[in-house]
């Protein structure tokens, strides 16, 4: 999401630069009684004089503004996974990269006997683990995996270690 913000910001900033310069140039050009250079502002002016607030074209523009505003707010407030998880408070603020933590938990999970593969998604409060096993009987695997990953998570010194939630898919599940 931070990347999306950067891209949107760069595009909007560029639009603001170009738009600001164009408006200034158009004002100067109009001052010399010349026709518009790039922006057809005389057409826009005529249209704004003729059309009422209740007409369809202005309404569509207003709807567009609201949609664009909502998209921008969604980008800011959508619940996103953290890029890093804070460690316990200390003299120097420290955190652990979320992606590296996910990969470390995958490695830890696949070291457990009976786990063939694993996928991990870490959020602020939870770490969801989906482990795949080649066994038919996987009843004991879930608690064992939870125990191993809980211990691993607890040893990292995180301020709020996410709760580990394990789901095991056995051969019979696939």
């Amino acid at each position: 999401m931070r990347i999306a913000n950067r891209v949107v910001s760069a595009v909007l900033a560029l639009a603001v630069v170009v738009g600001g310069l164009l408006v200034a140039v158009e004002i100067v050009v109009a001052g010399f009684d010349r026709r518009p250079w790039v922006l057809p502002h005389d057409d826009w002016y005529d249209s704004a004089r003729r059309r009422a607030w209740a007409d369809a074209p202005p309404r569509w523009i207003f709807i567009g503004l609201i949609v664009a505003g909502l998209v921008l707010l969604f980008l800011q407030f959508a619940r996103r996974r953290p890029g890093a998880l804070a460690m316990t408070p200390g003299p120097v603020p420290a955190d652990i990269g979320r992606r590296s933590l996910e990969k470390a938990l995958v490695r830890e999970a696949t070291r457990v006997d009976g786990v063939a593969a694993a996928k991990v998604k870490v959020r602020e409060d939870t770490a969801d683990v989906v482990a795949t096993s080649n066994r038919r009987q996987t009843d004991d695997l879930g608690p064992r995996l939870t125990d191993v990953l809980d211990r691993r998570m607890g040893a990292l010194g995180l301020a709020r270690p996410p709760a580990v939630r394990v789901k095991v898919q056995g051969r019979s599940d696939r």
Binding site: N5, V16, A52, L65, A94, A117
Partner: protein
């Protein structure tokens, strides 16, 4: 820990989003007669606005041009902020005599990273100085092996490496952050 222009982007985009929603909502509400049915039939560019601009054309358009240039300049600052990395390249060193001595910050940060790489469980490290002198900020990124004692590595960085770094640069104050990445031991692979 938010880095670079992320906080600025967040604030600007939030304000812009609210402004767009406000403008759109006002336009729609007025068009649907929320402020009297008569006003919904007014032209978008009203007679009052046109006559105001016409009466004050001698100062209105110059001011509008200056405001447009100001907006363009702010946009340029915002655009450049997306690509700038406020890395400190040189640090002034305190000297008792005449003259002026500067230290290349890359030398200092490389030494700091080498210090950290000697700790048990650390695979690699790098450091970067950002911000303004006299209170720069050093950001340390350290890759540690899966079996490393992460809190212990952090403690050693805080109490040993960063303390030495601060002493070597004769900085009374040094803001620091540590970013840890968990890394696979060389030679292992994920199944």
């Amino acid at each position: 820990m938010r880095r670079g222009p992320d906080r600025l982007n967040s604030v600007v985009l939030t304000l812009l989003g609210l402004a767009l929603i406000g403008a759109g909502a006002y336009g729609l509400a007025r068009g649907f007669g929320a402020f009297e049915e008569r006003r919904a039939q007014d032209p978008v560019m009203s007679e009052e606005v046109r006559s105001f601009v016409a009466r004050n054309a001698n100062w209105f358009w110059p001011v509008a041009a200056v405001v447009s240039l100001l907006v363009a300049w702010l946009g340029l600052r915002w655009l450049l902020a997306q690509f700038s990395t406020p890395t400190v390249n040189r640090l002034p060193v305190r000297a008792d005599g005449p003259g002026h001595t500067e230290l290349l910050s890359s030398g200092a940060t490389t030494a700091l990273a080498r210090d950290i790489e000697e700790y048990q469980g650390v695979r690699s490290a790098h450091a970067r100085l950002v911000g303004d002198h006299p209170v720069p900020e050093v950001g340390v990124t350290v890759d540690v092996h899966d079996d490393a004692d992460v809190p212990e590595v952090r403690r050693r960085i805080e109490e040993h490496a960063l303390a030495r770094f601060r002493g070597a640069l004769e900085l009374s104050e040094l803001r620091s952050t540590v970013h840890v990445r968990l890394a696979e031991r060389a030679g292992r692979s994920v199944h």
